[in-house]
Symmetry: C2
Subunit: 349 residues, 2 copies
């Protein structure tokens, strides 16, 4: 466990419901979780909200000018607006005033800002966004990465994603013996596209990765795997489909159940059970995605995040900090590089 | 409309519940749809089933020896077992004794058999499997192709898929003005992997394709698109995820709703509404996937198909035949090739 309280920089200006819902989620986290919160954004707007509600002593305001909007090209905007909320939040981590950033703003901008300001971890070629999916087994989740940081990935990127996912699964999700899968179109090792075929061989050969084979689309939810790696193109399509499917299911339930008099009565009786059902299905009830491979803990929340999602994202950030995900990835990479060097030396002798 | 009744060859031996559930679905179709059915498989087993039930006059038995099993390598098996049920069914179409094949067996084997026996349509480089997904708009579906016939597709394959999907949407799904999308990770034309970027340009330039832009994962269910094209790798992952998600949702509903006394009472009252809900969610209630681009109508049903799925697949086959999908794709390709030639001549002058 970390010796000090985790300090989370929250981008108060990013997201469809910024700043109010973001601040509300952050305040709840400051009260219920053992964290300090730095609210980054327009100080006037933030102060005005806090005056009308409550300003906890462990919530600090850090002023920022402007925000990267959804229609901006991320890299250009990040460079042109050095004082935008996402940049100021990343700088807090860079300057060691915060341990993590949570943002529901432009995810491309968050990634670009993290890369420029925090850099990549040693031994990691590309960052990856990891998203936690629920499975059919109650209480069991799976982390899928990459869900959109990269397209046209190379096998060695996916190998690095597998490693980072394994560490996250083991130390943050507390899976004693994580099982890693490669997203593919069949179970056999001979199945797949060129990327999958080549990645399979790397994963199988790497003793540090508990690879158990290919995962098909259905296996994302089956609970057979704790970590599933894929290129960011297919991962992003899958994530956005999964988010939408939850909404569609809830709407179909809302349309069909209350039909007729018996339907209305039955639905009324089921109110608490339907609420629990919604919690299991709705992506808004789950936290954000984690940006792996950069020099800081970054949680990228959904643009439509409201207070509960921001609260969950802050908890995720705290979990990653307390369980030293970054340090463990770095330690592995150093060890791994030494081994590779030793192997090379052996070969050269 | 076709001048004669559609004749459907049904692979009675393929699928987890073959032959009984397959035969049951075929018999129902022979009674309720205006079709002739050819049941292809072990004649003793089929006859024995029909004797215990009922042998309609429009159901013919065609004997076949053996079946391609799920663990066989498709191309090898198709070649080594010329009299397997899927091959005999394809031969019926080749010999013009049937207009379509329906199979719930090994989908790779069905594709290999179709390619070897029926060949590709002129102007089509690769076949594609198209699957119909429900959308959030009641009564509106979208056809997604390719969901697994190819991996590492080229832009021109996806262009051909878009064309075939448009024809299917217009003439079989009766969408007057179909809207075509390219599955991608963002709406902007600058988003995506190399394949998506290059395909976007082709689709935009092709006047015969009513392309309206990129479709994200969430758009598969939104009802904004009638046809969505993608490489078979991402399409297959999406399809298998979507099938599983339906099952997972139904299980979560089954687990959560009846909890407690009020829950049991409410669930009992909702029985008919829950049944309707299941019909909208469950993939087994929908039909099969269509193999586009080969010289015959082929419906590939899910391996777990039971009688209702087979019935739906036969209806799909009949719809494709009655609406002359093959003929229309061929006509387009001939027209398109003439145009290309004319353009080339103009350029050469």
């Amino acid at each position: 466990m970390a010796s000090t309280r985790a300090r989370i920089a929250v981008d108060a200006m990013g997201g469809d419901f910024a700043p109010n819902q973001i601040i509300a989620g952050a305040i709840r986290a400051s009260a219920e979780l053992d964290v300090d919160v730095l609210l980054v954004g327009d100080s006037q707007q933030i102060e005005s909200y806090l005056q009308h509600h409550h300003h906890p002593s462990n919530v600090e305001i850090v002023h920022a000018d402007g925000v990267v909007t959804m229609d901006e090209e991320p890299l250009t905007a990040i460079r042109r607006k050095p004082n935008a909320s996402i940049n100021v939040a990343m700088d807090l981590v860079k300057d060691k005033r915060a341990d993590a950033v949570v943002s529901a703003g432009h995810s491309g901008a968050a990634m670009a800002s993290a890369l420029l300001r925090l850099g990549r971890l040693k031994g990691i070629d590309r960052p990856a966004i990891g998203a936690v999916f629920p499975t059919i087994l109650a209480g069991k989740s799976v982390i899928v990465l990459d869900v959109g940081a990269n397209v046209d990935s190379r096998p060695k990127y996916l190998e690095q994603f597998a490693l980072m996912g394994t560490i996250y699964s083991k130390y943050v999700m507390a899976v004693e013996d994580p099982k890693v899968g490669l997203l593919n179109i069949g179970e056999e090792s001979s199945k797949g596209n060129d990327l999958a075929l080549r990645t399979y061989q790397l994963l199988e050969a790497n003793e540090k990765i508990p690879f158990i084979g290919n995962a098909e689309g259905r296996d994302v939810l089956s609970g057979r795997f704790d970590v599933i790696v894929c290129d960011g193109f297919v991962g992003n399509v899958l994530l956005k489909f999964a988010e939408a499917v939850g909404e569609v299911m809830l709407q179909i339930i809302k349309e069909e159940l209350p039909q007729g008099i018996r339907g209305q009565l039955g639905t009324a009786l089921l109110k608490p059970n339907l609420k629990r059902l919604k919690q299991r299905i709705d992506h808004a009830e789950h936290g954000g995605a984690l940006l792996f491979g950069v020099g800081g803990v970054c949680i990228i929340s959904h643009g439509s995040s409201q207070a509960p999602s921001i609260f969950n994202a802050i908890r995720q950030a705290k979990d990653a900090i307390d369980n030293q995900v970054l340090e463990r990835i770095q330690a592995y990479n150093e060890e791994h590089q030494q081994e590779t060097q030793t192997n090379t030396e052996t070969v050269n002798q």
